[in-house]
Amino acid sequence: MDPSKSQLMQYVPVLMLAVVAVLFSAGTLAASSLLGKRARRSAVKDTAYECGMLPVGEGNTRLSIKFYLVAMLFILFDIEVVFLYPWAVNFKGMIREQPGLIFGSMAGFMVVLFIGYIYALKKGAFDWKQ
């Protein structure tokens, strides 16, 4: 068997594990719906639970834009991490031959990202007290 084939074969157990996990979770849910108590439903019982008060307005309110900023910062760093992983794997191999390249490329990347990070910080992305 050629090695690339065996790499792919390793994902077959992953697929099987996913199937087993789905079966397990769905099975327990089915069991609970069979064994579970079934009482009479009423409009009051099926209302969303908001501490016993009747819900006012719609269930989904609009959110602060600050969540959006946090998500954007997360994407920034997530993409950095995606590049850091292959960088880290290559670190020991390349530090001997091309130390400037391996350090310089990541340092340049990070400096630019850090400008964005500092900018968001200075603009008060995390000042939630108001």
């Binding site: 690339s4 994407i75 290559n90």
Partner: protein, 167 residues
């Protein structure tokens, strides 16, 4: 087995992709977002079948993890009920179709020129992440640095858009 899985994932990708933009049952943006997640996951499955394991993991990590969260936060900024009531304008529909057609033509032209599949080798099995990193930090160092600029622009844009709220 492999061909079977390929057709399964490809069909899932296409089906979910269509359901993202044209769901006949609901116009709820959250439902569209959920189908987008399914599209992304089945795309990752296609990457695995192409031996691009690193790319598959990154596809899920970045798109299903990070970009999806951003989309959901944006959706939660909107008034969903108003979005569902809104009628599609005829002019917007025509323009949208024209844009989609233009992109489709461009894609077809590119694919026809690229003579895909010729001279490609399967990714080396051992240490594909290692090779990818080596190429990225030597041959493609400049595009790599430019990515950081794109991200910086995105960050500044976000801060400027939300500035009214912040200060």
């Amino acid at each position: 087995m492999q061909a079977c899985l390929f057709y399964l994932f490809a069909a899932l990708t296409l089906l979910c992709g269509v359901l993202v933009i044209a769901n006949p049952f609901t116009r709820n943006p959250v439902t569209s977002a959920m189908f987008l997640v399914l599209t992304i996951v089945s795309l990752a499955g296609l990457f695995v079948l192409l031996h691009a394991f690193f790319l598959a993991a990154v596809q899920i990590l970045v798109y299903a993890g990070a970009v999806m969260v951003l989309f959901l936060f944006v959706i939660m900024l909107l008034d969903l009920k108003e979005e569902e009531r809104r009628k599609i304008k005829a002019g917007a529909g025509v323009l949208g179709l024209a844009a989609a057609g233009g992109i489709a033509l461009l894609m077809i032209a590119v694919i026809r020129q690229s003579n895909a599949g010729v001279g490609l080798k399967p990714a080396s099995a051992e240490g594909s992440t290692l090779d990818l990193g080596k190429r990225l930090f030597t041959d493609y160092a400049l595009p790599f640095e430019l990515i950081s600029l794109v991200l910086l622009v995105a960050m500044i844009g976000t801060v400027l858009l939300s500035k009214k709220d912040l200060k």
